[in-house]
Symmetry: C2
Subunit: 398 residues, 2 copies
């Protein structure tokens, strides 16, 4: 707790990092615009990505990892902005369930993000200034469309697997629905086929917190050399509560006081949970752009596969993709009922689907944490799918 | 929905209403200070209240209603600030479960509130300015201590019943623990004997939203002739989500769009839930003071009867009060487990207790809504308790 509860100074992600990340970049010129669901398009544009492992000769071993709301492409390597290890190093790496000794893993920053892929903090070449809120609003399908163009660059026809949790899981579902022939196996984790009313509500609170900050400047804070750090921190605090469970908060913090024996009868952080949340808010603003937060939350809100296809089973009609759907018992942001809806639709579409509800008290964040049942399940599913596809098993056995 | 989704202009509760409400006032002079848990005291001070029905000759028919976080003393009559009906008119009134033809009902604005009882927006006579954050932080026990002084003014030794939901329920429990001989019957609804880590977390988000608003002016907004309306609105939006259930939000709003057929690909309120939340935020600032919000949420955070007494059963040792504890199935802010803890402690203390978990999908707000099982249960409990106490039944039968 000690390092989590100090009070770092609020500063912000530098714009240099936004447009010139240390990642690899796929650039698309004015002659190759990205057409968006809004009817608008964007060009030039770019996508920042990391890769791990080697693509095999027949390009049959590519796994696309899709990141969550505030995730990034550094799935299994240090994030250069935060200096922290990759966000899913327990899942992806040598000998891990998604084994980089065997698979070629690709992870791209989402469209609308702020770590190298075109987003609202990117420079609009037409004006020489950041797009800010003049960037078209994007959808999960737009994110996936951008990823598909990146996959094309690698000459990969069919991804062996597409895997992701939360908003990453939405992208997995969108991949399977939009490009069924390009996805051999799909692992949507802790997600839903549409964003619920309650989830939209929490996102709206976060957006209102950002937009209420006078330093948001109607979106033009970069041009004004300001940052809506306080609003963004409040947005993160509200969201962070939804990523945990009542039980995990109780176990981790309870009503424990922060570095003191008695209540202070004031408004400083008396309770550890308060210090923890403040820390979450303050460190978040160091690595995330406020307008990106607006765009990416909006993309999640807009996600509704059933609306797109007329019904959820119709999103998966005729699919040959193998699905492994996973939820966590204490996840109240994407409760198991959301996964069940996906599974029902997949069954109605006669898809090949397995479903696992993992017992965990860690809430929505369980997919990012050390949950052995998740790892063993995904290891098993991926290994079986690799066998079915004829990718050699580790050590050369088939 | 139509009236709920218009966009009223942000304005604010006038300070005249804070110190000079249309309610009755009990004033306590400099010679009669209110001693607080913080070790400080406040004087002069006042408490604003409403009464309904008539106190009988032996003063045995008084029911104290304790209001929730943003409630007020207008339990069964129009609120002069909002013009809206009393907040619990279904529960309190002639022929209602708490029948004002039979009982004398008293409801006071809580200490720290903003509708007439001394709170941070009240004028500090020593300075001629609003206390703002120089007012001592208060606790639930302080609120109850103030109410006890009001009850003394009426010459009432023992209240027939103390009834309240949420923070009102905390006051009910505190009454029963602090003044067992003064409470014949207690009805704590949708509450807990301590505020959970998750609940403290949500309150902290709200406070941070208020304090992040530059118009909060470090608390001194009244002196600066400003109001942190945007921060307060965000705080209310976040809190409001916790008062409903996922299911009630889904049923009420789902993913329905607001007055349009298609997504706008922007950050205006596309979804009805967004308009609804914005409206909740914007109308709240018309009737509530931002510093009061800090104080009253803090009082809830600090509430922990087990900590006060050493253990929860010890809070009720030897009690002769009759308890009716009530929870709602879909309440995730004060889930049934919190009520069970109270009931276990009461049983351990050999108290007279009945417990009802009411089936409702309306979330925490169920206690304010039209939930017939709640009314029939409380009517039955109150009628039985009145019989036990020897208060004549309506119509004169015993």
């Amino acid at each position: 707790m000690a390092d989590e509860t100090s009070a770092p100074t609020l500063h912000a992600l530098s714009i240099a990092e936004v447009d010139r990340p240390s990642s690899q970049l796929a650039k698309f010129g004015v002659d190759d615009p990205l057409h968006l669901d809004s009817g608008k398009s964007i060009a030039p544009w770019q996508i920042a990505y990391e890769t791990y492992g080697e693509l095999n000769a027949d390009k049959s071993n590519a796994v696309l990892i899709c990141h969550a709301l505030t995730g990034d492409q550094y799935v299994a390597s240090n994030n250069p902005v935060t200096g922290k290890p990759g966000w899913w190093e327990r899942m992806v790496g040598p000998g891990r369930p998604i084994d980089t000794d065997k698979y070629f893993v690709l992870c791209a920053n989402v469209l609308g993000g702020c770590l190298g892929t075109t987003g609202p903090a990117s420079i609009n070449p037409a004006t020489g200034k950041a797009y800010a809120v003049s960037m078209p609003v994007v959808t999960i399908r737009d994110m996936v469309r951008a990823q598909a163009k990146l996959v094309d660059r690698f000459g990969i026809d069919t991804l062996f697997a597409v895997v992701g949790g939360s908003m990453g899981g939405m992208q997995v579902l969108q991949w399977a629905a939009s490009y069924p022939e390009r996805v051999f196996a799909a692992v949507p984790i802790a997600t839903g086929a549409r964003h619920s009313s309650q989830n939209i509500a929490f996102h709206e609170v976060g957006r209102q917190a950002i937009m209420a900050d006078p330093d948001w400047c109607e979106g033009a804070y970069i041009a004004e050399d300001k940052r809506p750090l306080k609003g963004l921190a409040v947005a993160r605090m509200a969201a962070h509560i939804t990523y945990m469970s009542d039980s995990s908060l109780h176990q981790k913090f309870g009503r424990n006081l922060q570095d003191r024996e008695d209540l202070t009868f004031g408004f400083d952080a008396d309770f550890q949970i308060e210090s923890y949340l403040r820390h979450q808010g303050m460190t978040f603003v160091d690595r995330f752009d406020a307008n990106s937060y607006l765009y990416v939350t909006r993309a999640m809100d807009y996600f509704d596969l059933a609306a797109e296809f007329g019904s959820l089973p119709l999103a998966f009609t005729g699919t040959t993709t193998r699905f492994c759907v996973m939820s966590f018992t204490s996840d109240w942001l994407f409760p198991t009922s959301e996964s069940r809806n996906i599974v029902k639709a997949l069954n109605a579409a006669a898809a090949n689907v397995s479903f696992v509800e993992v017992d965990s008290d860690r809430g929505h964040d369980a997919f990012l944490l050390d949950v052995p049942e998740m790892f063993s399940t995904i290891r098993g599913f991926i290994t079986g799918a690799a066998r079915a596809r004829g990718i050699p098993a580790p050590g050369g056995a088939n």
